[in-house]
Amino acid sequence: MSKNYRLAEGGRINREHTVNFQFNGKSYSGFAGDTLASALLANGVHMVGRSWKYHRPRGILSAGAEEPNAIFQLEKGKYTVPNARGTQVELYDNLDASSVNCWPSLDFDLMSINSKFARMMPAGFYYKTFMWPKSMWMKYEHFIRKASGLGESPRQNDPDRYEHAHAHCDLLVVGGGIAGLTAALAAGRAGARVMLVDEQAEFGGLTLNSHAQIEGKSASQWIEDTVAELQAMEEVTLLNRATAFGYHDYNFLTVNQRLTDHLPLSERKSGREKVWQIRAHQVVLATGAAERPLVFANNDRPGVMLASAVSTYVNRYAVKPGNRVVIFTNNDSAYQTALDCKAAGIEIAVVVDARAQSSSELANTVRSAGIEVLNGSAVVDTSGGKHVSSVKVMNLAADGKSVSGSVKNISCDLLAVSSGWSPVVHLSSQSGAKAIWNDDQAMFLPGTPTQAQVSVGAANGTLDLKNSLHQAALAGNAAAKACGFDSDMAAPSAEALASEAILPLWQVPSIHASGRGPKAFVDMQNDVGVADIQLAAREGFHSVEHVKRYTAMGFGTDQGKLGNINGMGVLAQTLGQSIAETGTTTYRPNYTPVSFGAIAGQNLGDELFDPVRKTAMHAWHEENGAEFENVGQWKRPWYYPRNGESLDEAVNRECLATRESVGILDASTLGKIEVVGRDAAKFLEMIYTNNWMKLEVGKARYGFMLGEDGMVMDDGVTVRIAENHFYMHTTTGGAAGVLAWMERWLQTEWPELEVFLTSVTDHWATAAVVGPNSRRVVSAVCDGIDFSADNFKFMDSRVGKIGDLECRVNRISFSGELAYEVNVPANYGRYMWEELMQAGAEYNITPYGTETMHVLRAEKGYVIVGQDTDGSVTVEDLGMSWALSKTKTDYIGKRSLNRPDTLRKDRKQLVGLVTEDPKTVIPEGAQLVDNPGAPMPVPMAGHVSSSYYSACCGHSIAMALVKGGHHRTGETVYAPLANDRVIKATITDTNFYDKEGAKANA
């Protein structure tokens, strides 16, 4: 059924291993070592896709990373991958590929009708239309969107895993062609730590196609030997199938290694891709050069191919991309393709050379092989439906600006084109070296390095073997020397090859008037033609960056690797300026696209996306059915439902049990910092708003920390353990920030203070035992402490023992109950907890979580920083000005409290709310208004920050920040809700329970 274009011999494929695959539902076969592109060509398949905008038939154009057309959907279901470049997909058994962007089929694509309306769709046409009627835009857009995009995203979760690796080396060589291998060899022999990465399966680059000799052996033998030598070196790492996709500051490069994509699905396991983050002392970029296509009418027809790609298919894959070829070039390199084709038995119709003459050794060899060369000529158009069948050739003026004479029709099924070479300067440009235009070579060369990197070989514009090897050896030696290794490797020998100058030809002059005639494409993937660039220029888009954005040139999956330079040439010509003046667009990562999964690596999922911090009692909570709440990175028990209780039911039970008997809370997550040194109290005086000098040893105090802007930043209780030793608590979420904040003041502002800070958050496990029976429980567990009310008062701290274990007990309360916080080293946390549970059993000790904790504290009007404050609330706003020292001249944030805005009387102030209907709980986040019937925008009086049903009070309670609220006690406010319900509430103070504090002081 399919034709066989496989050469009888040669190539680097493994003919022993036949590989069956599918394309658009049809079965084909190729060989191991094929790419999807070479295998399709071997089966006579050129047309593989449709273009983005006009849905024109498109064929395989290149043999590498630069491919704009041969974009496939690989596989189906969970393994599917959109937009794979067929030129880089290694063939594997049962590979399933299909074309993108065509419907219902590649051959018959309904959207190809766009081609007919192409004239209505010049660059930027969207901006000029679809505006009326206004209401229709979302409909228009729906259809625009449908037509956009190439492949399909998977619809199922990815079955693969991805990995990361950090690496360091003396020298990183990107590109394993002969230049990269040579540089690596020089540094490797010197003993340096070298990494060499290449995106292909095999090392060797373009030279794998070549018949040249290096050091007296065939190039491929030399490559094989060199790779073997490198592999044997202990400090050298070779990565194949590894693309350097980003070059960042400080010689940090990212490399994506594909580990399994070349394997049949059934053999894939473990990591699919690995992203290497490499810091290199020195970098050698040996990324080669990409051949440019020529721009002329209908230059996008399947069967038009880069000349070097033709050589690659013939030599490397033993595939004939056609039976009769026309070669169209403006430089010498395509003559080699003529020889390669001839050797492969491809008939050569003619070599069309834009240059008036060509007389290099290579050109002469071609002529003497009996191949016709038409100098001073150009292909001006192609014919054929879905495949080129003939080309039109005319005479080209010496300056390349016009064509003349009769039109020669030459039949062919392959058109090999070359417009010269563009060094792959992507990584060099990303590193900060601005590419420099070179007129003689008609190419952008790597610019002056701003980091320790250098380009060699074709990447440096050196298109001959001898010089490439020479440069590479020098660079390898220099890199090794820079890292302290003695290195003086001589360059591998090879013969020099002289070539003649190129005739830059950015577009073949059209035989049609400007804007007319068939399209001549610059960016094939995005269907940007010469006329689009000219139109953009005409409309005032002169900057190359504007042209890019107006026409979408270079926006595709290929990032304009083939088209951009031609486009810049066309723009320069249109604007009558030089290419140097026109400049390039910005080179950015990624060099080629990289799976999101690879960039994310392992850092995904419930355990690994972000650290899950667990307390010493975590397993107990799990075993006892806790539901957890995320608080910062911690998992805290939220509530402990019993027998299918709802959150509310469980919380009501936990609250009542605690207030009536005793409850227990895991409080280990609070930040804990030891503050030690002669100036510890002095330091706290600056950090907290209240006084600390006179706090007695063994006593605790509650304090607020402000930012310098005067707003509440954190709060907590701090215990004076000894004269010069404090033990500070911070909020769970604030711990790391508070420590860094205090260190900053100590280290940068007051280094003279004798204070040391040490975080002990992880060292201590803390259980809060809360409720009227708490004294009984803790005294049953802790020895050596006199728990009597007189000897162990509220805000006292004591040291005792649980068995032989030392424990620290603080009588502090975040609930208004009699309460003790018992602290032991966390290795004993679970032991302590279980002891307390056991001792509490007779009092029905009830573990409770954060939700009950919230309710209990709200009943007492205690605030939670971050819930009842939002970075715009002062201590005064909270109604807690008792916590502001009146005697201190300064503390952090004090000065800000006297700014006009902080003195305003109508600031939002914390109040309590009681709803008219005791059962109604105002949703947290409700806004409060004085007049719910006011017209929009309705003036807002404040908002509800905390709100609960209080089982202990028997009615709902809430805290709210209300403008001027401290003076509005007894007034009514309304909470209008989204469902049009309005809740009426009365402003109260914030203490709803045991106002006198009898319980906590019991």
Partner: protein, 192 residues
Amino acid sequence: MPDLFQQHSPLVQIDFGELQDNAPTIEETPFLGYLNLRGKTSNMAFVAAVLKVLGVEPPTTANTMVESGDYRIYWLGPDEWLVITPTGQAGKVQSELNAELKDVFSSIVDNSSGLTLLKITGENATKLLNRDCPLDLHPWVFKPGQCAQTRFAKAGMTIAPLRDGSGFEIIIRRSFADYIGLWMQDACVEFE
């Protein structure tokens, strides 16, 4: 001392016993003593006191550690060290230091339950650690006697090469230990 069996290591929920064939060996050494020691080496009294109690001066060269009998002292910062003691001895050493340093600007904080130690050994130890640690662990650069505080994935760690070159020990925080353990277990899938 309370019974040791009453202790629970932070890695109580993780089993490193059955990793892939080529995975490095990961073993926890739980329940060592860890003291966070602060002081100024410019103060001779401080140095002398440390020398007296621990038998060695606190190292002043960044990123190094010293051993002295059963103790190991890691440099953590210009005025900060981590003293590792055998199980159950932190309290004793702390009191001795406290006694000697009574009138010297210093701080000795027991963090024994706050940290734990993992040994990661075997051929692929470096590979595993460099999966998400940005430090250069190559033996040319990071030698026995050196130590460093750095990160592993999104958690901090203190790391030192083992004397015998067989791998590394890392010291991690209790509350992140489970996370690091799971991360490593997951990463070991690579080493089939």
